[in-house]
Amino acid sequence: MSSFEPLIAVFSCHYCSYAAADLAGSSRIQYPPNIRIIKVPCTGRVSANHILKALERGADGVYVAGCLEGTCHFISGNYKAQKRVQYVKALLSEINIEPERVEMHFMSAAQGSKFAAVAAEMTDVIKELGPSPLNHSRY
């Protein structure tokens, strides 16, 4: 599927990764247009259900972008999110969906270039994997 353009849902926290996305924007760092941000106050708000729902409803990939280790505005929200991401990855493996479709990434509010780099990296990874098996009917 050479013209496959993945749709990637990103759960982004207000204090760090959303701010990093803003910074990527004000720095005009260009990156692929495949991500769709869902803003949450803290990535700790994101449950396993939310990640699965995103996959179910059309995302070819999902990642949770939280604060750098040790700098979460809400102290440990990013660690909680990471645990849930690991749980979802394990679940996906069991049902034969590539666990690489779901990831946890860490960045600070000052890392605009990292936000863009992660967006580009995830787009490449999902492109390689192809459309989500849940989405085949759409292609």
């Binding site: 910074l23 004000s26 720095s27 005009r28």
Partner: protein, 484 residues
């Protein structure tokens, strides 16, 4: 605390000090001489080292000043006299007539659209035009229009009235008068900011005679999305050429029409007109041929310390010139990746938080060339491109460098009204003309109950202005408590 505080100056320092006071429940009168608040920061495109869009981060504060129940925003106003002492000042304020009813104006802009007068726009430093009825800048607060009496036809005794006719809100009022009133305040904060040094005094740099030599403020407006070129980096000579082309085309059209009408009448046309037509067409062809090359902006230069650290003009350092140029170079390269920026500096002063890293990034990621040397002379070379002579202090070579655009990082000088204000209120200025303070009491002027913050005290960057503004608010509040 019945009395309030007077803040003179609506730039970022004045705005911050105003908000700190208002948030503590203290009444504040913010007097600004321009039609809108925002000061120099509103004219900037980006701010270093975060590259935040300046007006975007400032916008919410502008709104807050206007909307806060404890603030009285007196824009387009001036302080005329001050008497009394700390705890009990009487201040005479003149609120200049806008000839537009502020309550009725919806800032729809139709009046400016229809106004027949055009004159240079001060906010864009003369690089674009505005009408006689205008708004100082699009995101300006208060969001109302103002009639420039000196340009308006009605005030010149000529027939007009167009703005009054088209205004749906019926806000235009030629009969409006200045209002003069007294304020009784307990403390005064001077936040009058700074002025940009006029580099045409430095003949060797050619500012004013060479079109592609501009100041850093002018460059800010050129790269700003709401500036005269919508953010497209263009050389002034290219802009001038465009204007000339337009004018020539219009004159050619008129001349052609004249020829046609003459031929119709008498069967022959005047030789004179034919000659003029031929000359104009020739000129047009020449300009058109150069247009393409003028559009190119490949190499730009920033000249530091223009009028600063200079025995002839200002001895002091403008304190943000180095960072300002690095920022502009970075933003310019973002606009156009093939652009090469060179900064000619004396000392690279990047001493603030995050500043040194920003400069290093400028060099490594944006390819900015740093040449240590004071530029001696700027001239005009082939195809009217500017060039500059500079000794590279590292290699000891004296070189001539051609550029498409030369930006002068000009000195920061005291506001032109500060001397008058100092006499009026009774505070001292230092040898450089900035407001004198002690390092132990950094916001206190020599006059009791009168405080200072921001660049009025000395050249400084935005974080320093903002911190100092909060400090001044505290001191003013303290005066009110003790004496008000």
């Amino acid at each position: 605390m019945g009395k309030g505080v007077l803040v003179i100056g609506g730039g970022i320092a004045g705005i911050q000090t105003c908000l700190d006071l208002a948030d503590q429940g203290i009444t504040v009168y913010l007097v600004e001489c321009l039609p809108c608040i925002g000061g120099k920061m509103a004219q900037l495109d980006k701010t270093f080292p975060t590259n935040d869009c300046s007006i975007c981060i400032m916008g919410p504060k502008l709104f807050e000043v206007e909307r806060h129940p404890k603030t009285h925003l007196l824009a387009y106003s001036e302080v005329e006299a001050v008497s009394g002492q700390a705890g009990d000042f009487t201040v005479k304020v003149r609120k200049k007539a806008r000839y537009v009813d502020e309550e009725k104006c919806t800032a729809c802009g139709l009046c400016a659209e229809k106004c027949p007068v055009t004159l240079p726009d001060e906010f864009n430093l003369g690089m674009s035009t505005r009408s006689a009825i205008y708004k100082h800048f699009p995101q300006g607060v208060p969001s109302v229009y103002t009639i420039d009496k000196s340009a308006c036809r009605v005030f010149q005794g000529k027939k007009c009235n167009i703005c009054a006719k088209v205004c749906e809100a019926k806000a235009v009022d030629y009969e409006q008068e200045d209002t003069v009133f007294d304020l009784n305040v307990g403390a005064i904060i001077v936040a009058a900011g700074f002025d940009v040094f006029e580099p045409s005094d430095i003949k060797a740099y050619g500012y004013g005679t060479i079109p592609d030599v501009i100041t850093s403020m002018e460059f800010e407006r050129l790269i700003n999305a709401s500036g005269p070129t919508g953010g497209h980096l263009e050389r002034p000579s290219s802009l001038n050429t465009k204007t000339e082309v337009k004018q020539l085309e219009r004159r050619i059209r008129k001349a052609k029409a004249r020829v046609k009408s003459l031929e119709k009448d008498g069967g022959r046309s005047s030789e004179e007109i034919q000659e003029t037509l031929e000359r104009m067409n020739e000129r047009l062809a020449i300009i058109r041929a150069r247009e393409a090359s003028l559009q190119e902006v490949k190499e730009i230069a920033f000249v530091q310390c223009v009028g600063s650290r200079d025995f002839r003009y200002n001895r002091h350092c403008c304190s943000f010139g180095c960072m300002h140029s690095v920022k502009e170079a970075i933003v310019a390269i973002e606009h156009s990746a093939e652009l090469q920026s060179t900064i000619f500096f004396t000392d690279m002063r990047a001493y603030g938080k995050g500043f040194h890293e920003y400069c290093m990034r400028g060099a490594s990621e944006y390819g900015i060339r740093f040449v240590r040397g004071r530029v001696a002379e700027i001239g005009q070379g082939d195809e009217d491109r500017p060039f500059l002579w500079c000794e590279d202090m590292e290699t000891q070579e004296v070189n001539k460098h051609p550029f498409d655009l030369v930006i002068l990082a000009t000195a920061c000088v005291p506001s032109k009204g500060i001397e008058k204000l100092a006499k009026m209120i009774g505070f001292e200025l230092d040898e450089s003309g900035f407001v004198r303070t002690d390092s132990n009491t950094p916001t206190s002027t020599s006059a009791n109950g009168v405080f200072v913050c921001g660049c009025a005290q000395g050249p400084m960057d935005i974080p320093s202005s903002v911190s100092m503004a909060s400090a001044a608010a505290l001191m003013a509040g303290r005066t009110l408590k003790a004496l008000g």
